[in-house]
Symmetry: C2
């Protein structure tokens, strides 16, 4: 499907679900962006879920989002259970403004929802020449180190830095693979890799359904478990959102709004060394790139480069949409 056609269709769907024209466009653009980044687990496969939650008033289609300015660096946002895309979009703009003023910005967002990829928001800060750290919590998917039941989400750590060229954006979940990939495998009857998840009895499984009932494995045992816990504290505990496994699963739990928390930290990369920064970051990248390559590698890419290449390539083509999702879309549009 042509991007422009898809965009119109998505806006129409969100508007039918009572979102404002502006909010509908924001959501449509982020969903298309996920598809173009080949992050299909965060794209159209989630459209029906978002709409289902709006219909049940678990996502507020007409949120009154409040921005409380604490000081020139720090703001706190109450998302009023908006769709995550909208509140995070407002939040990153605020974090950018704050850092532009003082060199460092801190924005906490409470009562939000799933916002797609952290890199969506990191990229905006990087394009405004800022360093950024984005944290968000998520529904239970990982067992804390020492436990046999999921509690932490796949809680990503996202870091961006401007390079003057393609943005350096690391966006890494603290699980071995993203939960969205398991969900998508489940939706399309595919298997998941060996060693990334356990079934509910604690046995390794490649069946995505069993993995969803069981628990995913964190990267590097207690290290990944600790990093996931850090993300839960930064995005959930201190912002006043849900935490400690209380963030609701958007697909399975319709007992209330998700209440996801996000935290954005923005830093002016020139704050210490001024204009030299851009020379130094490029020196850094070049030192890495010119290292001797490991077997099977013809070049070393920095985080964000591969995704940027995919985005450019996919932007030239129409977006291919599985029949299952096309059916969902026409049902949603007929509501």
């Amino acid at each position: 499907m042509k991007k422009s056609v898809l965009r119109s269709k998505l806006i129409q769907i969100f508007k039918k679900h009572r979102l404002s024209k502006k909010h509908s466009a924001i959501c449509a653009d982020y969903l298309i962006k996920a598809e173009l980044l080949a992050a299909k687990s965060h794209g159209l496969t989630r459209l029906k879920m978002y709409c289902d939650r709006i219909k049940k008033n678990l996502i507020n289609p007409k949120p009154k989002i409040k921005i409380r300015k604490i000081n020139s660096s720090v703001s706190h946002i109450d998302a009023d259970n908006s769709i995550g895309f909208v509140s995070a979009d407002i939040g990153i703009s605020q974090a950018i403004k704050n850092a532009k003023k003082t060199g460092i910005g801190l924005v906490g967002i409470k009562r939000s929802g799933h916002f797609g990829l952290s890199s969506f928001y990191a990229e905006q800060a990087v394009k405004k020449n800022l360093i950024v750290l984005c944290f968000t919590n998520a529904p239970p998917a990982l067992a804390p180190y020492g436990a046999k039941k999921s509690l932490f989400g796949t809680n990503p750590i996202c870091f961006g830095v401007p390079t003057g060229k393609v943005p350096f954006i690391l966006d890494t979940s603290t699980s071995i693979i993203n939960r969205g990939k398991i969900r998508r495998a489940n939706k399309f009857g595919e298997k998941i890799p060996f060693g990334v998840a356990l079934d509910k009895f604690g046995k390794i499984t490649t069946d995505p359904k069993k993995a969803l009932e069981g628990t995913q494995l964190p990267i590097a045992g207690f290290k990944g478990s600790g990093l996931a816990w850090m993300v839960d504290i930064l995005s959930g505990v201190i912002t006043g959102s849900s935490h400690g496994g209380k963030t609701k699963d958007p697909f399975d739990d319709f007992s209330g709004p998700q209440n996801v928390g996000h935290l954005f930290i923005t830093i002016n990369p020139k704050i210490f060394i001024g204009k030299r920064f851009i020379k130094e970051i490029n020196k850094n990248i070049n030192l890495v790139k010119k290292l001797p390559k490991a077997k099977g590698f013809s070049s070393i890419l920095y985080p964000g480069e591969r995704k940027n290449n995919l985005y450019k390539k996919n932007s030239k083509k129409d977006i291919s949409i599985p029949q299952k999702i096309l059916n969902e879309m026409s049902n949603l549009n007929a509501v």
Copy 2:
């Protein structure tokens, strides 16, 4: 050896190496702290290295450390090649002051050296009721994803949060094990675990000497590699320190000062939700602790608890010092 005796001896050694009385005491206290935390790789085993570097004027025993205040949240410190303990000690104090004023503090330190454990500094911020992120780079030890040669250090990520009880402090290197552990195994003729390091030909090795000549493995492949890169950018690139593999190895490279960079971010955890914070963090911890335990676990500890238990236990006893280090100490004292 009694702690008080050891402390006097260490102060004497550092004073003999031209450090001021105050700086000597700071260094002695951090080295003892590493021993009490059972982080022996960061304790007395490094004393000779520090002294060797001072003798060769690669660590400046009389540094003129300059603190440049950029605004009420942000400061930049030029450590003048001081021993890392001293500049990081000053840096964390400044980061605490800044966050106490504005809710968020950012301190970058350039031209510093190895500072022991990140948790030393995180703990100070946490004890002043602040959340803290500490980053430091380190000499080449990890191959970036796609490369077959070391470039990143084991670049730790350290996160601390006050709980009202034992501080929550996650201090995790981005390598599978700490380089200090490999150095110590080498010093004492022990083996290292399988699967944590490669020799210089790219083969897995359990020989610490071969591992030191080769490269260590990052946690979780490209994820850990990306996190190590993030730490290099935050602590090295933006502070104006060395980066991209140019941080000198304190044990092997006497061609100049180490020029390590550190970055501290401090946050008032009550900035968004006020006094409710302490209730929420304890709720969070309790939710994790009461999960059903995995096989082999009788309780779930949060990061920092195990170290705190060790510290309390070891504080009641004398410090046992291997003969090799006792000999080093008496040689250093005789200089």
